[in-house]
């Protein structure tokens, strides 16, 4: 049979695929890792500025009391919590703990929920 000249289509529309909870925890781990990576330089610069002089400290404090801080803080705390928890889950699975499907589903769900809860608790504490 002669092959068509055109390249064959490929179905890979991620919005049309029903992902298991483990896949969602996994993609969130990557997103969180990238967010942490992006956040590190500004956080380090901010820390440096706040330690350099009193004026720098004041400037940083003002910056952190802007209304955006809750949102940015929420996202970063979520990213740190999710990445840490999912990372620990990965490391445990790598040494053979929790690799069964039922346990892996349960731990993925737990990581997703606990990271969001931690972020909310932290944001609530920060705002009050």
């Amino acid at each position: 049979m002669a092959r068509p000249v055109r390249p064959l289509p490929v179905f890979l529309n991620l919005l049309r695929i029903r992902f298991p909870v483990g896949a969602i925890a996994s993609i969130a781990h990557r997103v969180a890792g990238v967010l942490l990576f992006l956040a590190l330089p500004p956080l380090a610069l901010g820390l440096d500025a706040s330690l350099r002089s009193e004026a720098g400290f004041e400037a940083m404090r003002d910056l952190l009391s802007s209304p955006w801080r809750a949102l940015v803080g929420l996202i970063l705390v979520w990213a740190a919590a999710h990445h840490l928890l999912a990372g620990i889950r990965h490391l445990l699975m790598d040494v053979g703990i929790g690799g069964g499907l039922a346990q892996a589903r349960a731990s993925a769900r737990a990581v997703l929920v606990v990271a969001v809860l931690l972020a909310l608790v932290f944001a609530a504490g920060w705002l009050t």
Binding site: P9, V10, F11, L12, R16, I17, A23, H90, D94, G99
Partner: protein, 231 residues
């Protein structure tokens, strides 16, 4: 029952489209494949693979309502309507639900899926203890349907270099075999950032395997075997 099915005809040059069908299951229709066969009597242009109709040949794997599975093992009862059928994700589509499995089988062949045993062969069979035989359970049942590899994000992004869950499960099937003498060579071949280590333990493979196997567990065993060897 309402269905929405991915259609692609390479001869027309038109892009793939979804086609709606409405077909009443007859009394004996229990599985999705029964309904597809019925559908094809009305529209004989609809193309899909099937052979054994009982989960042995592995040919009717497809994406059913967003999850990969075998049409012949998917019960009609409880299926959400419209039943959306698409070809296996990430595989080139030849026509409708038929995909090109060339690369998938090339990965399978790359792991040398045969017993490499001591020569010369014994008078009778190569014997195993019940324990040694037990280790092949959960591995030898694989029917190479590709549901797992076609649901693995790592395989979607690196189908040329990552062996994928099906090939790796098969690789472990021979590593675990007490009669096989090529374990060291097999591990050497797998010890590669792409072939084995593209797996991120997402476990999509185990989620969809219609035979209830766990490729992610086989991959974990390969990793542990490599780790033990290097220490």
């Amino acid at each position: 029952m309402k269905l929405s099915i991915y259609r692609f005809n390479p001869e027309t040059g038109e892009p793939p489209r979804m086609q709606d069908y409405d077909v009443a299951p007859a009394a004996g229709d229990k599985k999705l494949l029964d309904l597809l066969m019925r559908l094809r009597t009305a529209d004989d242009s609809l193309s899909f693979r099937r052979s054994c109709r009982e989960g042995i040949c592995g040919s009717d794997a497809m994406n059913i309502n967003g999850r990969n599975g075998l049409a012949c093992l998917t019960a009609l009862e409880g299926l959400k309507e419209p039943v959306v059928l698409r070809p296996l994700p990430g595989f080139p589509v030849i026509r409708d639900l038929i995909v090109d499995m060339t690369q998938f089988f090339a990965h399978y062949h790359s792991i040398k899926p045969w017993l490499i045993a001591e020569e010369p062969p014994p008078e009778r069979e190569r014997v195993q203890t019940p324990d040694e035989r037990e280790r092949l359970n959960g591995l030898y049942e694989c029917i190479l349907c590709a549901c797992c590899s076609a649901f693995c994000p790592s395989y979607w992004w690196n189908p040329d270099k990552f062996i994928g869950p099906a090939g790796l499960l098969q690789a472990y099937r021979f590593i675990a075999d007490s009669r096989d003498v090529a374990t060291a060579e097999r591990l050497d071949f797998l010890d590669d950032v792409y072939r084995l280590y593209r797996c991120r333990t997402i476990m999509n493979c185990t989620e969809v395997c219609p035979k209830g196997l766990s490729p992610s567990h086989a991959i974990e065993r390969i990793r542990i075997a490599l780790l033990k060897r290097s220490s």
